[in-house]
């Protein structure tokens, strides 16, 4: 079986030091908060390190917190050979959310990052095709932001709100 969460967090802290800002091993879903500019390096390490071997990125979630003025990205990493699991968070400033794209680490991030860009307006630097994926190409605004107001019309067609 794989490593305990505290051991995984320990490995990351040992390797990256102060790039790991917070360590919440006691939470219901233990997670580490990292410095956004170190994410790409950490991602490569998570995938390639023999103790970790996170070969599957399950899920990328973005959560908007207007009161804290941040958008939090949550990466859920999974290791099929070692069968352990890690949640990495990065808090980005809400007025200019930017983080490095990791599609070169896990190919699945191509679509996941496009989805997060589409719905939350996070820019992934270095992504080869950062365009809207679920909404229409000319859609205005980012629906999953908490202050999003649904437009009354789209291309002259009235939006019916029930």
């Amino acid at each position: 079986m794989g490593l305990e969460r505290s051991e995984i967090h320990g490995i990351l802290k040992e390797k990256f030091g102060d790039a790991v800002l917070e360590d919440h091993v006691e939470a219901a879903e233990p997670f580490v908060v990292i410095r956004p500019d170190a994410w790409e390096e950490i991602a490569f390490f998570c995938r390639d390190d023999q103790r970790l071997r996170f070969d599957l990125l399950s899920c990328l979630t973005g959560v908007d917190y207007p009161d804290r003025k941040v958008i939090e990205l949550i990466y859920c990493l999974d290791s099929t050979p070692n069968r352990h699991w890690l949640v990495v968070k990065a808090a980005l400033p809400r007025d200019n959310p930017r983080i490095a794209s990791v599609e070169s680490v896990w190919k699945t991030m191509d679509w996941h990052e496009r989805e997060t860009f589409d719905l939350l307006g996070v820019t992934f630097e270095g992504h080869h095709n950062l365009t809207r994926i679920l909404c229409a190409e000319d859609w205005v605004g980012y629906p999953l932001r908490r202050d999003y107001v649904m437009p009354e019309t789209y291309r002259g067609i009235k939006n019916v709100i029930y």
Partner: protein, 376 residues
């Protein structure tokens, strides 16, 4: 004779195409019969489930999860319900756990039957489809009796299940299992699995190596077809799956290449047998008692916190990330649909230069996608 000139052509497959299993569009660059490159376009069915969830209470979200993977709605209900229960640290009654396992596995069979039937039809065999729908109908009838719905059940809810399962329905399920396994599955194999034409259309086509599959986040039968033994029911047993004995079928490369369309197809056929095994054990052990936690049915208000939970749906890892701010409405619900990741690998499979236009259909069918879940 002068040299014949060939030209590349752009071909639009979809959004309305019978083999794309929903509104899905692929732009294919072809040179004669060969596909040079393909580009998938999704989003035609997008309704922003995640935004809708923010504006509804925890219980009101359940019917929206049905409409993601509408062919295996029980697994989506279960994934969502268990995530909220994990947030609330809620224990579900024993009987409800058994009912959940029985209905989820039945639904998995129904979903695989549809995949089996439509896959045959994609390749050009109409008959297996009729056989598959005959048997799928039996399962839908059972569900109709159980909760009044044929597809969008909303049956598994936070705290348990909506209605108790009666002795009569249990007998129906037992009868279905006896009818279905092993004879009917044997019939399927004779009809389609080992049919010469079917094999030549699917063997060594769309070969998906294990590392590529994992990199693209492919899970479920499509990943197991590549020989990776990963099934959350065994690896990280949720609910009461650790009490049952069953195997995890994986692709073996029996028809020439590991991870080809035939392997992915065959994993689903073999999985149906395993699901019947689980149902039989659950039917034998199901205890009497409550089928739900009555308090949770009246209202759900999880404490502040966030949690990710994943289960094995018919198509792969169904995951929910829920952030709660302590009110009756979720602050954020993220749904991870397996089809979304599974279909993203399509462009990589068809842009290697060895794929023909006819193989496109075989590859899309073998990934077994549900567009309701891709677009959410």
């Amino acid at each position: 004779m002068p040299d014949i000139k060939t030209e590349e052509m752009l071909l639009n497959m979809g959004p309305q195409h019978p083999s794309t299993h929903g509104v899905f569009r692929v732009v294919i660059r072809t040179d004669g019969e060969m596909v040079l490159e393909s580009e998938s376009h999704i989003g035609y069915l997008h309704r922003c489930f995640e935004k809708v969830a923010e504006n509804n209470t925890y219980i009101q979200v359940v019917p929206y999860t049905d409409r993601m993977d509408y062919l295996c709605a029980m697994a989506n209900n279960l994934g969502y319900a268990q995530t909220v229960e994990k947030l609330m640290k809620l224990e579900v009654p024993e009987r409800a756990q058994y009912i959940r396992v029985i209905v989820t596995e039945l639904n998995r069979i129904a979903s695989h039957l549809l995949a089996f039937g439509t896959y045959g039809m994609d390749i050009g065999a109409i008959t297996p489809f009729l056989y598959a729908f005959r048997d799928r109908e039996m399962i839908l009838k059972i569900f109709e009796k159980l909760c009044g719905q044929r597809l969008n059940y909303s049956y598994v809810r936070v705290g348990g299940v909506t209605f108790d399962i009666t002795e009569e329905i249990l007998a129906d399920i037992q009868r279905f299992c006896d009818y279905f396994e092993p004879d009917t599955i044997k019939e399927y194999n004779e009809l389609l699995s080992y049919n010469g034409i079917f094999i030549s259309r699917t063997a060594k086509v769309g070969v998906l190596p294990a590392d590529l599959a994992l990199s693209y986040g492919v899970t479920g039968p499509s990943l197991r077809g590549s020989g990776v033994k990963r099934d959350l029911r065994k690896d990280e047993p949720y609910s009461i799956y650790d009490r049952f004995e069953f195997d995890i079928p994986v692709g073996t490369g029996e028809m020439g290449a590991l991870g080809d369309c035939w392997d992915r197809y065959m994993v689903r056929v073999l999985e149906m047998t395993e699901s019947v095994k689980i149902i039989r054990q659950a039917l034998a052990d199901i205890p009497a008692g409550d089928f739900c936690d009555k308090k949770a049915f009246r209202g759900v208000k999880p404490p502040k916190g966030e949690v990710y939970h994943k289960i094995e749906g018919a198509r792969g890892e169904v995951g929910f990330y829920i952030v709660s701010d302590g009110t009756t409405k979720p602050y954020r619900v993220k749904a991870r649909g397996p089809s979304f990741c599974n279909i993203s690998v399509l462009d990589a499979l068809t842009s290697r230069g060895d794929c023909m236009v006819a193989d496109m259909v075989a590859i899309i069918g073998s990934l077994d996608i549900v567009m309701g879940e891709v677009d959410r």
